[in-house]
């Protein structure tokens, strides 16, 4: 087969005077932080993550953002593009787009948000459940495989009316050992329900398991989900059908 060698610059290299905006929360003094916007040159094919890396290299050397694998697997780079939660490494941007932090969690700096509140709530509720242990005796079925696709990107919090009830946040609490303040969430979210479900539900959940899980789900406010259109997962995991609906059913059976 013929292998053709590209002559001169490829289309990808052509400079276009198009820009994407990046929202930054910046400033030397914590109390004097302000939200600003910088404009970054945008070439065809650039992902949001490309833009952030360009901005850091050329304009804001300490621009703060998370990323990991650059290949849609780790979930670290979730940001909002024009207000919609997306994976930065997987989303091409174009002229006029705006990249900002997830607004569903407290902003630490620029595009970095604080995930500890979700972790703390999950830890609290897991402690109330008996996490299933022991070797499974059969292959995972499609249900387990589908739930197992969750990469923990937390994009699903952005459109969750239940998670939104956590705001405004109560005053920061000091956790004893580390003096480590963590925002205390009370209400659940799709990721949280999915994680609890995966940990607590065996292939055939017994009545005890169901009851405990239902109690915890109720504490997390799952009844709010009755009036919701359904969870939005960027990987397309049908969280509402696979997780929330069974939880609602077991809550109703309590």
């Amino acid at each position: 087969m013929k292998v053709s060698r590209r002559r001169g610059k490829s289309k990808m290299d052509e400079k276009k005077t198009e820009t994407t905006a990046v929202s930054v929360l910046h400033g030397e003094e914590r109390d004097a932080m302000s939200v600003g916007r910088i404009q970054v040159d945008c070439e065809k094919g650039d992902t949001a993550l490309d833009i952030l890396m360009k901005a850091k290299a050329a304009q804001v050397p300490d621009l703060s953002f998370r990323f990991g694998c650059r290949n849609r697997r780790c979930g670290l780079c979730a940001v909002e593009i024009n207000g919609e939660a997306r994976l930065g490494c997987a989303s091409e941007v174009q002229h006029g787009d705006c990249i900002g932090p997830l607004k569903s969690l407290p902003i630490v700096r620029d595009l970095v948000v604080d995930r500890s509140g979700v972790d703390a709530l999950l830890a609290q509720k897991t402690a109330l459940l008996k996490v299933r242990r022991g070797m499974a005796e059969c292959s995972p079925d499609l249900f387990h495989i589908e739930l197992g696709r969750c990469i923990g990107c937390l994009a699903c919090l952005s459109r969750c009316p239940l998670h939104a009830k956590n705001y405004p946040l109560p005053p920061l609490l000091e956790k004893e050992d580390f003096g480590f303040s963590t925002s205390e969430f009370r209400f659940g979210n799709p990721y949280l329900f999915l994680q609890l479900y995966m940990m607590a539900v065996t292939d055939e959940p017994g009545p005890d398991e169901r009851a405990k899980l239902a109690a915890v789900a109720s504490e997390l406010g799952v009844e709010t989900c009755l009036s919701c259109g359904g969870c939005r997962c960027i990987r397309g995991i049908p969280v509402f059908n696979l997780v929330v609906t069974p939880l609602l059913k077991s809550v109703q059976a309590l």
Binding site: R30, R66, C69, R70, N71, A136, S139, F178
Partner: protein, 615 residues
Amino acid sequence: MKVLEASYDIVIAGGGGAALTCAAAATDLGLRVLVLSKDPLAGGDTKISEGGICVRGCGDPEDTVASFVSNLKIKGDDLADDDIVRAFANDSQHAYAWLRKEGIRPFIRESDGGLRTYPMPLGGHNTVRSIPHANGGLAFAHALSGSWRSRKYDALGDAWMLEVLCGGPVESRHVTGALIYLPVKGELVSVRASAVVLATGGLGSLYFPNTDNTRSNTADGHAMALRAGAMLVDMEQIQFIPFAMARPRAFRGIFVGEPAAAGPLGVLRDGHGRILMSGLMHRTRAEIAAVMAVAVRKGRGTPSGGCFLDLSENARGRSGSLFRQLYSQQNHRCLEVVARAQGREAAAFKAPWEVVPSAHYCMGGVCVDENGAVSGNGALHGLFAIGQVAGGLHGSNRLGSTSLSEILVFGLRAAAAAVKQLDTSAGRDLSGFRSEADAVALGYERMMGRKGVVAPETLIRRLSACAWEKIGPARDADGLHGFLREISGIRKESSLTNIGGDPVWNQSFMDQVELENMLLAAESIARSALARKSSLGAHYRLDSRSGSWAFSQGVAFSNGQWRMSRLKRVVSPFYERCRDKITDGAKRMQIHLLRMLPENLQDRVLVSKYSRWME
């Protein structure tokens, strides 16, 4: 800087498989555990891996410990530490059983209750020995996450271990704790501990973007170990996976296939379309990566500085459609990457893939014993290194799917060893801890708010561009000496960097920490690469001379001085090495002959081969 009132038995740096396995096992043994991870927990390379784990005997009843040990040692050119290899071969079954109890779910055959394995031996293995999982590495992340959340131990994401704190007289130095940065809170904190475990992964980001590692792999554990006085071994042995996307920018370094992915008839071509190498399926990653690097150096590369992987011959004839089927079964994730990066034609094998090698795994690492306890450089009690950051298991070449077993085996062993050594360290004087910790913290505190002339980020990019050229898949003495000078220059500038004053999420501070760690690691790689004058395994010298090879290159750093040493290794029996070479040679001959067959016959042979693999 705050000193915590709480103290722990064991503090673990890392958040991937090795860290969480060790934490769970240590908790079950009654230790007070603290895990510190830069990124959210249950991540690291574990989460993004392909998800195949090596378990002795899972696919072949003849797969004995001796056979496995021989395979590991010989493929690693006998650079491995015998005790470590033996521990690994002995424990892989037990380790995987542990993870199954924590919730990982392999596919189980209905016919006999056995576990489904990969149909073929993975790279370098002498038999079928690896187990795939639905969702790949994500399955490990979920099981490990469950193992963490179902136990009560302290685990922090967004927590950076900066230094291992040590104390005691020179003859009996021991770990006293760790210095930590908490960016969300904006605090430097020190914590007392009897044992510190480094489970920080690899150093792929040193070669960014020519790496498929996750970003956080910035040699933190390698550097902290060096600064604590430990020795590193085999640092010149860095595994470059040959087939990663060369373009576009967003996909540079992203993995698209093992050598086996070239199929029986794939060939490597240079920028002009001339064949560089065939029979790729049975070549090692190192061999192919070196050929690619040399071609690019000689000006025969593609516009993006890579080579062309041409799979089109595989897709012809009747066998072609079976090849496509097999490929989408086994490698569909990689095909998706190719489609997105270089188009549908490429993913359909109709256009060649523009590929470049990518830093994938560091075989070298901290010198430890078979329980992950740091050894080999004087007394240093209580420091452990497990997982990719540890050296001594893989030698000059890592077999496919072994790193997922490695993290479990040594995570468990280190926990057990930490319990034992805890008894002997009871009653150690920890009262001098506060002043020691203060002294170390001062250096870091002074960095914040430093007005400088260059951003750490700029130096990191310079370092990684240079590292790719000079300590990449092909090296030579001039390049290595030049690189050492470059490192020296960058190090000087790194003391003059501009660092923000706000302690909360101080990105330039975090960049600085990673820069300094990568500088140390880069220097250890360059010095080791210079010291090993002949090519061996993953270490390819363009100016190679013949020389002895049955030793591991050790490197340590103290009082500003680098010290090189050699660790004697045990060579595998001659007849075993011969047999291995003959077997490899036979496989390559087979592929070679296959290419020479007339098309019809070739097609028939391939159809029967593929049909067997697809069962």
